[in-house]
């Protein structure tokens, strides 16, 4: 039964990737740009889902890690002119260090307090960047001299490939032994501890993985967009969108995050003519999904098949 499930998932995913890969032949550069942003967003959502859906820790500030990775990479490229791969790696390291500094004391807290700490971290980072505007460009942001590519199609393929690779890695992790232990720790930590698993160590690992992916994607996003600013990378509203994308797509499914992100970005674009009401409609839609399909889009489809 389970192999039937995963093979349906596999075929669905393969079809999705195949269709997505040939889209640049038909779509305009603008639409490709929107989709590329959606793919990077998808990695954010998937990394978040690993932490939430599995480890059961609600991270209200994924943008803290993203911002660390993005701004480190941007500043290194801007001030010292280091090549893109080095900047990205530095971004990853910085996000990892920041994530560990945040997680180690935070994991001692229970319930809503962990979420609160993550929220405060984002606020602190945002304020720090604005205050030290001389170095970071403040609210206006900074531009970076290097970009991944100037062609929309190439950027699109980079984004798609990146998302697919991350999806494979994250999905594999979720189905591995570690994923199972994380799920146990998230749903019933007392029992997991009783069975002898070091819950804290595993949650810390999950946090680190989430941090690595968030930082890496943040850094790459900076080089895709060519700029880094607080409003596009760190603002709480971005974090909210990531959470919505993951929940919409289906928590605990990892791949649902990618689906949710693409859907969210696509929906915002399609509804753009509505002007201000576009946010209203998207939020209302997300609320409806939470009320009536709490398993999310992908989760709902998977559960239905499981019931058959």
């Amino acid at each position: 039964m389970r192999s039937l499930l995963s093979s349906r998932l596999l075929w669905g995913a393969l079809v999705f990737v195949a269709v997505a890969a040939v889209l640049p032949l038909w779509l305009s550069a603008y639409v490709l740009g929107v989709l590329t942003a959606g793919y990077y967003f998808g990695v954010f959502a998937m990394a978040w889902d690993l932490l939430f859906g599995f480890a059961g820790e609600v991270n209200f500030g994924p943008t803290f890690l993203i911002g660390l990775g993005a701004y480190t990479a941007a500043m290194l490229n801007n001030r010292f002119g280091l090549a893109i791969p080095w900047c990205v790696m530095a971004g990853i390291v910085s996000a990892l260090i920041g994530g560990l500094l945040l997680a180690m004391p935070a994991l001692r807290l229970r319930g809503p307090y962990f979420g609160l700490v993550t929220l405060v971290a984002v606020l602190l980072l945002q304020n720090a960047i604005v205050i030290f505007a001389g170095v970071t460009g403040g609210e206006i942001g900074m531009t970076v001299p290097d970009v991944l590519s100037l062609s929309a199609a190439t950027n699109y393929w980079y984004g798609l490939a990146f998302m697919v690779i991350c999806a494979v890695i994250l999905f594999g992790l979720s189905r591995s032994a570690m994923g199972l232990i994380l799920q146990a720790s998230g749903q019933d930590p007392i029992e997991a501890r009783a069975l002898g698993f070091n819950v804290t160590k595993h949650k810390l690992m999950a946090f680190s993985i989430s941090a690595v992916f968030a930082g890496m994607t943040g850094a790459l996003l900076v080089f895709y967009m060519g700029t880094a600013s607080v409003g596009t990378l760190i603002d709480i509203s971005i974090g909210v969108q990531i959470i919505i994308a993951a929940v919409l797509g289906g928590r605990r499914s990892i791949l649902g995050g990618a689906l949710g992100a693409v859907f969210l970005i696509g929906a915002s674009e399609v509804l753009r003519p509505l002007g201000q009401l576009n946010t209203f409609v998207v939020s209302a839609l997300a609320l409806a999904v939470i009320l009536f399909f709490p398993d999310g889009l992908l989760g709902h489809v998977l559960r239905r098949r499981e019931a058959q």
Partner: protein, 291 residues
Amino acid sequence: MLARQILIDGFAIRALYALGAVGFTLIFGVSGVLNLAHGGIMVIAALIGWFTAGEFGAGPYGGALVGILAGLASAYATYLLVVRPIQRSRAIPKEESEIFVLTGTLLWGIMIQTALAYKFTDNPVTMRPILPGVVTLGGVRTPRNEIMIAVVCWLVIGLVWLLVNRTRTGKTLLAASMNPRGLTLLGFELSRVHLVVWSIYGVLAGLAGVLLASFLGTGSGNAGQLTASAFSIVVVGGLGSVSGSLLAAYLVGYLETLTAYLIAPTLRPIPALILLVLVVYIRPQGLLGRR
């Protein structure tokens, strides 16, 4: 002179924030809900109050009353349309209902904010002061309206404290926040308790919103910031504690004002954040909180 000015100027606005925070903390303490639509409810009350007072012509008192009723109505809407369905939903496992309620109220808050921005635009509005005129208090010129606001806020907070700590209804609320199951064993209807709390919350948030509009002015763009302020005050003061919110509102407020005056205006939000971090690490239940 400067010190007196800081003291007096900050007093009323801090009382206002405390009022909003008290409702927020009650909802969390009793219903277990971190209502992220809080700012939205305050702004609805403010904007509808302003609209009724000005465009509709009901005058400041009529507007204030309608505003408070609007706050009450929005609180009910939030509870009955968003929070209760999620809490009762069978499709969501118990451990996760908290995060879903949180996300739900967040989305609801965004919906309120964008709908208000659409109807009333982003521009902040001010209601005509309920008590016009200026008075000199200890050498500082203060609008009468500001004094009235401070008095009203302290009065209402005092009433709420009395309600929660001295009356039977209040004790039921406290009991519900400590042990809901035990309360049902004693024969109390939990759903009635929740309705009572949300009613109190609606009135408090509505009042805070209306007063804010008549004092500093507010608009749909402020909703997020109002929620964030209430949030920080409640965390520092203690989730579920009325006196804690009052204390924290003044502590955070004066810290911010002192920073702005003595160090630098740009560093204004920093001490509040640092205080928040310290409280969460050293004493996560807040200064006067229970759990």
